[in-house]
Amino acid sequence: MATTTPLVEMHHISKHFGGIQALSDAHLDLYLGEVLGVLGHNGAGKSTLIKILAGAETANEGSIFIDGHEAHISDPNDARRHGIETIYQELALCGNLHAPANVFMGRELHKWGFLRKRAMKDEADKALSRLNIRIPSLDAEVQSMSGGQRQCISIGRAVHFDTKILIMDEPTAALGMEESKKVMDLIVELKRQGLGIIWISHDIHEVYNFTDRITILNGGRNVITAPTRDFTQDQIVSMIISGRPIKTVAAEG
């Protein structure tokens, strides 16, 4: 954590869906070049929290600061303007389109409304090969590709546009073991390039190995935010379940 100003700060975030309180007074902060794990069981509010940051939901209360400046994020395009990109577990790609169309979806390169297909294909090719992503063909529908290849295209898309903050919502949940490893390697590489990464996962082992700090949510409230290695895996699991912080020597020090 080289800088003192966090890359992202989310303060006092509350959100309810009808009568259901998904988040109450939740906090989150993320620093440059770190991987922050967001943990909690189903319904703990972690997906809602990051959807608010990604612009897919808007909070009822609370504020978001990016690089110390307040940011108003009300749709995915606002989030992107702040350099926030999201990778969803359900593979947010259109299966009927090829890789370049997916990489540039929603921000196609164009001249007077006419697609610059050549330029997009070249840039998509560069973006994917920079991350060592190999796909069968740039002209093939992504539907014909494996889950791992598709997730790699998502990641290639996410980091192509001058990204500072990468949100990953269970990026390996739908993948096989080998494919997961490929994706994890990619994340280590991205972290080295200095991105701030928010990582949501149910796989405690994965979280323990890849995150620098963790934020645990329970019932829409923060349980604890601390360096991952202050705890054992068992202690983290017990905090996720109980919703109560465990005091350790390291955490107090």
Partner: protein
């Protein structure tokens, strides 16, 4: 069968071959089929459905459907006829007719996106509303339109080809460029492919849908202009059921009904295939009752072949 397998991955070539085969069979079956007079007749017959099919293709590729185009056509035609009857310049009347069609399509789009009404229901409602309005405006009577401009559109030829054919060519040219070369078209395919993903990736899905249905309404009004020219009148009951013909043309052409897949031009070939069935059977003296049966069968077979194609890929 390797060649056949390859052919199935070429949607345009495939459908053109089917159309060519039909032409061949019909020209052997009847000496009148391939005559200039009959071909002119056929292109005139096909023009209305073809123009509607271009709009329908956009809507269906976006994952929607527009059942209201026949009624919107009638309302636009009636608007033109009524204004001319009031002594208004036919050019202004035409612009007003086009505006009326576009506006009805825009309402479809707003009802679908703001009201969260499924396209099938929203446009089914509009089918009734637009037809009813056409009857209300005219009180059920048909206006005669003897303006030279419309008679020219309906009856003249340029370079030996009937004017409605030029409407079809221009409409398909523009729609093909829009759908295959512009950001607009790319977004239509994305929404048809996966609307949720399109939204997550920041495509303004609702605004895009409003544009799509407005465009479909506009093209229905363009078809109305051709229709007024051909009939030299604006009966409010005109074009009943043509929406289903337009949808059938799109489906026969091989555009996926689920959305996201297909080439616009195949809808034109689909419209020609339908017109050839009707025209060919007329020439052969087969009852029009059978024609409906045959078109029904062709629609189902077309989708069945489409399923075969997708499983081949």
């Amino acid at each position: 069968m390797i060649k056949f397998e390859w052919l199935k991955t070429q949607p345009l070539l495939w459908i053109i071959l089917v159309a060519a085969l039909m032409m061949l069979v019909l020209s052997f079956a009847s000496p009148y089929f391939m005559t200039l007079g009959n071909m002119t007749n056929l292109t005139k017959q096909v023009s209305i459905v073809a123009i509607l099919a271009a709009g329908q293709a956009i809507v269906i590729i976006s994952g929607g459907i527009d059942l209201s185009v026949g009624s919107v056509l009638a309302l636009s035609a009636v608007t033109i006829g009524w204004l001319i009857e009031q002594g208004i310049d036919p050019k202004i009347a035409t612009v007003a007719g086009l505006a009326m069609g576009t506006f009805m399509g825009w309402i479809n789009g707003m009802v679908i996106t703001r009201g969260k009404i499924p396209p099938f229901i929203a446009t089914l409602g509009m089918l009734g509303i637009a037809r009813g309005m056409a009857l209300v405006i005219t009180k059920g009577v048909s206006y005669q339109v003897l303006e030279p401009m419309f008679l020219y559109i309906g009856n003249s030829k340029v370079l030996g080809l009937p004017i409605p054919l030029y409407f079809v060519v221009v409409v398909f040219g523009v729609v093909m460029v829009m759908m295959h070369m512009t950001v607009f078209g790319r977004h239509v395919y994305a929404i048809g492919g996966d609307e949720r993903v399109a939204r997550l990736e920041g495509i303004p899905v609702d605004r895009q849908k409003v544009k799509i249905y407005a465009l479909s309404g506009f093209l229905a009004a363009v078809a109305a202009v051709v229709m007024v020219g051909r009939l030299a009148a604006t009966p409010p009951s005109v074009a009943q059921g043509t929406e289903l013909q337009a949808i059938a043309a799109v489906i026969i052409g091989g555009i996926s009904f689920v959305g996201g897949r297909g080439l616009v031009i195949t809808a034109l070939v689909g419209a020609f295939i339908m017109a050839m069935i009707t025209n060919g059977l007329n020439i052969l003296g087969i009852s029009s009752f059978y024609q409906q049966v045959l078109i029904g069968i062709v629609i189902i077979v077309a989708v069945w072949l489409d399923n075969l194609k997708s499983s081949a890929q």
